[in-house]
Every structure is written in C-alpha cells, then in structure tokens.
Symmetry: C2
Subunit: 248 residues, 2 copies
C-alpha cells in the first residue's frame, strides 16, 4: 500500500470548506479530491487534509495524504488529477511518503495570509481574494498589535464559540503586517490554529488600525479569554492557507 | 450640459466586451454603465468608450465619457455608481472635462498587458486572468521578436479578417516581455490597435518563444501582411487594457 502526499492550491470561493459534509450535498475540496482520486485508482479513496479550511477560504499550499495501491507514478499524478478536478482546485505536487505520514497529525507549522484591500474603491480583480477596507489605517499600530500575538498563549478569546476543542494553547511565531500600495497582507504562522482564529486575530488588528482600540489591548484580550471582547471575525474571502510544514 | 470622463476597471470574464450589442441580450460593460448612469441621472445616458474591448478582455484603466445635466459632484460619482454596478465593474475616477472631450477620438495612446502563466500547473488564482503555457519558453527570443514590432507598420497581417477598417497603419512605441517567476507579462503600447491585434502579436511572439519561428520572422510577417501567416489569436482572458492616455 502506498501513502501519497499531495500539495494543492484552491480558490475556495465556490466551496463549503475543505472538509466533506456528509449528506448536505454542499461542494467541498475533500469530496472533489476523493472523487477524482477514486476514478484514477479505481477504488474508493479517503483523503486526509492537514486541517479543515472554512467555507470560502483559499489555499496556495494545502497538504493532504491518502493510501492506495494505485500504480500511477507520483510525478504523473498532478496532471492526471487536474484533468479530472474542477479548474479551481489544482494539485501541483505528489510524492510517495512513508506509510506513517499523516497530513494532520504531523503538521508542525502553518502559515496563513489575510489580505485587506485598502483603497476607496475595491478593484474587481481583488473582490474574490481580499476584504475591502476603504478608510485610512494606522499601519504602525497594526504592526505593534500583531507583535503582541507572538509566543505561546491561550487563544480562548480568539476562537469561534462553537468548537469542541479543549486545549486553547497555541504558539504563534510570525505575525506581521505589510502594505504594498493598496494591498495589506497580514501573515500569521504558528503550530496550530483554532476555529476562526486567524480571522478573529486579524479582525482585532483591523480595529486597532482604525483607532478603535490600542495595540496593548491584545495582551488584555489574550489574558481575558472572552470571545465577545475580541474583534469581529473577518470574511473568509481574504484568508489563504499559504503553506503547511512537516518535520523533515 | 456637463461632459464627464470616467476611468474604470472591469473583470471582463462575464461580459461580451465593452460595446453594447443591440437586441442580443448579451451583457456588456457599456450597457451596465448606461443602466447605472441613467438611474443616477434620471435621464437616458449614452456612454462613449475609448474603444471596444473584446468579449472576455479585462481592463484596469478603461476610459469613457458621457454628457448629462446630472447634479452629482464628480468626486461623489464613483461611489454612487459602484453601488449600482455589478461588483466586476468598478469606476474609480470621475471628472468634469471640456465639452469637446471624446473618449474615442481623443485617445492618443493605449497600453495593453497580456499575461501568460508559464508553469506545468495553472494556479487557480490565475485561471481567469492568464493564458496557460506549460512548456519552457525562450525569453530572449520573445524579447527580440517584440522589438521588431516597434515603430510604424502596416498591421494588416495582425488583424482579424472580419474588420471594416481601411487604414492598417499603427505605431507601436512599447513592446516588451518580462518574466516574474511563472508570470510572463507582454506589454504593448501604441497609438491605436486593430481588431484582435494584440492577441495575434502575442500569439506570434509565443510561437517564437516555443522555437517554432525566429524573431526576424516578425519583420517578414509585417511586410507580407497576410493574416494566415501570423501566429494564433490567443484567448481573451489573458488580455487587459492597462491605460488610455490623452493629450494633457
């Protein structure tokens, strides 16, 4: 039995997230992958993702794995798969890995990018990939706020309330704000993320950019741990899973 | 009577070009603009574009003008218009201009960008905005070919056959090829363009990049003036009207 690791990109705009939603009929990335792989393998394939991405969230470097006795060489798998997948899901790498590799359990670091389009009119080319904020933002305050997230914290206050998770401690090793003309990119990387965590973190950073809060409020919010006190959950279209790293 | 100049962006993917197509029911940019402007002005508005863009072609800086006695200040027009326009058409500038300004007749220079995505797998984020070419391309040959287009030429051989135009002479003052990772951008600027001209020029440059022709073949094709001998018309999704310039 082979264990095959896939690296893929997708425009999440047309999907209800990565994870299969049984019996709902809603399109998901996992379902499309399993459908295409099952055709190629001529057997039923179950795909394990590095984690779920929410409805509408994009990915440039999502990772998944599956087990199969299929005979297609790994280097020919992307082309074969892409011919069966919808054009908004693209597998760009496939490799045979050791049988105990698990895309979710073994992931040691994930990097997300949240994109804000900061100009009076939203460009039609960014409408699917960025959140539009027309007014002036205080970039330095946003950067200062981002730095308060660095390190190990209990992210209870930055997690959607409907979660089954018990352990809210996560370590963030990168949280930065960069502006390039009208595009603001907020990069967040860490060992793991809770439900809606990045979108709430960025929502809070944005309120600080608007002058509604101070950067040091982040320290208070982390300590307090109450969801209602943190910023809003920003829309999913601005969020993109950039990469998932594994121990080499 | 005011004469108002608009600068706009659009994702042309959902439209059958800029120009209204009477009685066809096909969506066009002009029609959407006229519909929105007529609502704001409470009178029937006719829009003049700097030129038609073909079905599927995008624009970052298309220019249009219209005459109206509407009272909305120019600086408030973009926001008002964008609230009525579909999200894939965005007016980002409006200004009062002299009564004899004509978006088509006065245009003195247009700049187009054609984007090629040159990697084995097409990123889902570029599928609407680039033409996918997987194989290796000879960049230096493409640049050399592009330089042969510079200057004044008869572009008969680089024009779709179904055109009513009589004068095929145009002057190209910029034609360059730039690669940035997997993205190749071919910039073409000049005093005017024939039907499908940029897409045929780039189609020819691409065949030279693939080694099927030599850069100096461009000189021959320009001189010969036979459409069938030039390269293929590349798909519209890779083409974008970047800007239109007027005498200041």
């Amino acid at each position: 039995m082979r264990n095959i690791k896939l690296t893929l990109s997708y425009d999440g705009g047309g999907y209800h997230g990565f994870q299969k939603q049984k019996g709902t009929g809603l399109p998901t990335i996992q379902e499309e992958l399993e459908k295409a792989l099952s055709i190629l393998a001529q057997e039923s394939i179950a795909v394990i993702g590095s984690g779920r991405t929410d409805a509408g969230v994009h990915a440039k470097g999502q990772v998944a794995n599956f087990k199969s006795s299929m005979r297609i060489p790994a280097e020919r798998l992307p082309l074969a798969l892409n011919s069966l997948l919808p054009r908004d899901i693209v597998v760009f790498k496939a490799e045979d890995v050791s049988c105990d590799f698990h895309a979710r359990y073994d992931a040691k670091r994930k990097t997300y990018c949240y994109t804000i389009y900061n100009d009076s009119c939203l460009s039609p080319f960014w409408r699917r990939y960025a959140y539009h904020v027309p007014g002036k933002l205080k970039l330095e305050e946003m950067s200062a706020a981002a730095r308060f997230f660095l390190g190990e914290h209990d992210f209870h206050g930055f997690c959607a309330k409907d979660t089954a998770v018990k352990d809210f401690v996560r370590t963030i090793d990168e949280c930065s704000v960069k502006k390039d003309d009208e595009i603001i990119r907020i990069i967040v990387a860490g060992d793991g993320f809770l439900y809606n965590m990045v979108r709430i973190m960025v929502g809070t950073i944005l309120e600080i950019g608007k002058g509604k809060r101070k950067p040091q409020d982040v320290a208070y919010l982390l300590q307090k741990g109450v969801r209602e006190e943190a910023g809003m959950t920003l829309p999913s279209c601005g969020l993109c899973l950039q990469k998932v790293e594994y121990p080499s």
